[in-house]
Symmetry: C2
Amino acid sequence: MARSSTRPTSRDVAHAAGVSQAAVSLVLGDKWRGRVSEATAERVRQAARALDYRPNLAARNLRLGRTRTVLLVVPALTTEFFAGVYTGAARVAAQHGFGVVLYPSPEGIGPARDPFASAQAALDGVLASSMAADALTAIRGDRLPLVMLDSDPTASPGAATVNLDIADGIRQVADHLLGLGHRRILHLAADVPSWTFEARARELTTRLAATPGTELSTARAPISIDGARTAAEAALTTPGPCPTAIVCDDDKLAAGAYKAARRLGLRVPDDISVTGLDDLALATALDPELTTVHLDAELFGERGMHALLAVLEGNEPTSGDIPVQLVLRGSTAPPRTHQG
Amino acid sequence: MARSSTRPTSRDVAHAAGVSQAAVSLVLGDKWRGRVSEATAERVRQAARALDYRPNLAARNLRLGRTRTVLLVVPALTTEFFAGVYTGAARVAAQHGFGVVLYPSPEGIGPARDPFASAQAALDGVLASSMAADALTAIRGDRLPLVMLDSDPTASPGAATVNLDIADGIRQVADHLLGLGHRRILHLAADVPSWTFEARARELTTRLAATPGTELSTARAPISIDGARTAAEAALTTPGPCPTAIVCDDDKLAAGAYKAARRLGLRVPDDISVTGLDDLALATALDPELTTVHLDAELFGERGMHALLAVLEGNEPTSGDIPVQLVLRGSTAPPRTHQG
DNA sequence: GAGCGGAAGTTATACGTAACACTCGGGGCG
DNA sequence: CGCCCCGAGTGTTACGTATAACTTCCGCTC
């Protein structure tokens, strides 16, 4: 009789089924075709079920030298966006029998800045979103397979990269506003040192530069509604002609821009157009609803995880940016005729 | 010379330092006072650093029979609220050398409905938020220590429970609205079978019943802005006197209520007051800003993790609900005098 | 000078699993 | 008739760690 105080092991199952532990391992590991008879296999399965046997993961991981667990590193988990990324990544991982451990980046989690101290689990690989450089180097210290999300492809030579085609999203925004007739545009930029935000600024600048007679100004704000409101209010009250449209790096910043406009007595979109980027729930909660760039966060997470799993199997990850789509809602309109 | 192809083990460190593997384990495990000389200990530390040795977590977990990893089960990770819970829980866990694996509830993750299949990691305990009953029973199947978040204390006899005092929040909302003079109130309720939502309805009902002359109606909606808008619009256009205030189970529902009011030509708060619950970023993005009940999600996660760690150490978890606070903003005002 | 206790280690073992190497009997085939 | 192969298993080992049990040496006390 097996000791009931502790969890049953494969040896307990073997004893109950009258076979050796090795046979149990073969049957439960589905490696028994041609090695164990169907009758014996069934006896083993019955015994396992009767004892409610669950393999000891730690022992299996030690034996196999891999853990079927990967780490997902994301910036502090404040928005729905990364919740979506996680959901997509975890779904794909689960389909392949992998688990996902989350590490929201350095700020605010643990005393140890090392992701691997925080994630106690033994890991097979890492999926890392754009993040602080120190966490990145800590990760590279280990030799784990790494796939980067939303990062400068040229900056991580060793690692595969999966990106949203945000540059194209910015192009769509710029073309939309230019098409409506806007020429004086304010870029409300995230005050975060990250490749993805720098890329947005770069793309917007070059796109607007291609159309003569445009003026681009920039205001920087932390990614919070009130921070954005303050920055936008300051930018809109500087001397000189007022911009007719605000391009925001992010939907949260756009919400701040709405509040700034409201305080200044400007109406969206009649007096000023506003665009966002992300398409969070926030975007449709605003009045008027926000014209923004829809990012498919779950698809992003799925693609990232597929790439990582490919790397883990020694294959080449498929590349190619994920398309994004401008969603026209009520926050953009032609500018008022300013001199006619 | 150690093989450079594979990660160094404690034996490699021992060899490099000229000691036994046991000595390495003692030194690195900080159990060497009086067992190893300071000079030898330093030699071991040097060797470990030189080889960039990291202990094999799987082996340690197997040896020790515990993993310093716990599972956090949350409803599908769609809101900032559970991001906050995770952040708080992970912070406390990290401070105690624990890691946290996330399992967002059944919908949408994996083919296996079993949380333990998805979370590949071997676990020491579970912190589980209110969730679908099937996931719950799967968890109880294992004999892991369990702490419940935001759940019926009487329903899980074996497990400790950590709750936000949402009933008090609802009381504060009800008293605020009654104090303003509202008597016809619509409850926009989440259409989700969960203890926490049922408790809200119960509390609101009893609180209003204590004041004569009040009328409470209820509309149910899925937790999404558009779902809430539809439900609220239907409720507000039913024949009979229109409610003067809407109590929403959740800020997202409140955003839907705003949209419904706007479509019907009702102004918030002049024509109708609206309250939420959660205090998400959304609450201050709305115009007017939402009067809502502030929940401290991170504190909630911290308390939950503290309770679980206490259970794991064989101590009694501290109990007591976490206080919540009504935040007055611009979405509530006295009703228009309806018959004067 | 015998004995004892403590410092400074070492040796050996177990944790639970997966898989390699082996055994044993029977049947097909040359 | 001898050989080989195949089905159906079993015995054994190793993964890397933590720790209990043991050894050795030395200084002290009685």
